[in-house]
Amino acid sequence: MNQTDLATAWRPSPDWSEIRLRAEVLRQTRAFFQEHDFLEVETPLLSTDTVVDAEIEPISLSCGIEGKKFFLQTSPELCMKRLLAAGGEALFQITRAFRDEECGPLHNPEFTILEWYRLGDSMQKGMDFLSDLFQSLMNTDRAIRCRYRDAFLKFTGLDPFTCEAAQFAQVATANGLAAPAQLGDDIDDWLDFLLIEMVMPHLGLEAPVILYDYPASQAALANVRAEAIPVAERFELFYQGIELANGYHELCDPHELARRTAQANAKRTQQGRRPLPDGGKLHAAMKAGLPPCTGVALGVDRLVMLAAKKKQLDEVIAFTIDRA
């Protein structure tokens, strides 16, 4: 960075009103969880394990500790589930998560994440709790619930569970959307593209919207419910067209965990990404017994951004990656 750039780049990008608002949002969040008898916990940012996601790239580092390679967590999911398997009941954490390559108006590679788990909660209960929290922090109406499939049908006219790539491509073209050349035949890639372009912009313009019952292929670590077409018990909250939270009625079966990890690694390899170690500590914890529970992760920076009625994260994060 040259001297002219440094003369301005040393400064934080948000105003003090937003820096103060963040402190207030954090204070209210902690108060809400304490009122609901959740225990605040801390888990390590550095771990030899990482969640194996097809589309999330962790940052890895070598430390001078037994020559081991560590990952910066992409979410506190693994360690919080280990705490649950070891006797935790209702846990929350406000921490940092890191995702390589994710940089844009609504992404910073290092971000603040709020994550919580409560034993015994069904997906329904998990969505109710998320809605209550959001309502209390943001003074909104109760969140509207909408099946993932119904939202797709409404805004694209396509059934995300039965349509094929060619049909998605046709609708994209008819709507003047230039799809990336490499989307090919991957249904999930098409679903993500149309979700971004045609569905998300309509979600939560007044009351927040929670989409639920995701395609089983996008279950990640959510339980899959057996139905005529199986669905993932996964849900996401959107407000002002922006994705804020992702929740699962959690997968508890260690064999299924191993199968999904292998599947995510296969997709990573196929896309030219490095495969990630399957760690094994979460697997061992689940073998010992992860009780049925629901967990949710929420992006705190985006929450503060929306509370401040701002459009970009650099308006609420003191030093985004370009000034860090």
């Binding site: 390559e101 992404h107 990336p180 050349a181 993500d192 593209f193 996008q218 996401e236 994705e243 992006g299």
Partner: protein
């Protein structure tokens, strides 16, 4: 051929699409938390000035454009060719009337311009923001009228016609903004 991966995408990058050079004017990143990233580039065609928008999936790559900026000195015109010289290595380049566009209005022998080369061929030339030109012909000025809002057409030494305040006279020098084509002020020799 060099290429850029989606993780290299940023404003100012010069890339090549279907054989034509573009400069990225806006780069956006969108991604559902667990889903596939979409990179969107808005870019300007460096030859035609048109704007193109394209979406890319994370991991895709685009060809880099071999684009270079040089200082080109205008030497002379030969028929419908304008001849420039790279001041760093004396290499000469010819540009067509089409490539020159409106820049001819401001080109005097020796004018130093900014030139863009694509694969070693000139594609655009930009004259300095301000140039001083001699008035070759105009109607006589209205004596004592110093208002700048009353204008008249004036023919300058390059052959171009420029709107100047009515008080300017033949033989005088005027400073012109090449970006807008507008008169700025009179200049003493």
């Amino acid at each position: 051929m060099a290429s850029y991966n989606t993780s290299d995408f940023r404003k100012g990058l010069k890339i090549q699409i279907e054989g034509e050079p573009y400069m990225v004017i806006e780069s956006n990143f969108r991604k559902p938390g667990k889903g596939n990233a979409i990179y969107t580039l808005r870019m300007r065609n460096l030859v035609r000035g048109t704007v193109l928008e394209r979406n890319y999936k994370g991991g895709e790559s685009v060809e880099a454009a071999d684009v270079e900026e040089i200082e080109g000195q205008y030497l002379y015109r030969q028929g419908d060719k304008y001849v420039f010289m790279d001041t760093s290595n004396y290499e000469q380049y010819e540009l067509s009337t089409e490539q020159i566009g409106d820049a001819w209005k401001y080109l005097k022998d020796g004018t130093l311009c900014q030139m863009v080369l694509f694969e070693s061929n000139p594609i655009t030339v930009t004259p300095p923001n301000h140039v001083v030109l001699k008035i070759e012909y105009c109607e006589p000025g209205a004596k004592g009228n110093t208002a700048t809002n009353v204008t008249k057409p004036v023919k300058v030494e390059t052959g171009a016609e420029i709107q100047c305040p009515s008080f300017v006279e033949m033989g005088e020098l005027v400073r012109v903004d090449t970006r807008t084509g507008e008169y700025i002020e009179r200049v003493k020799e």
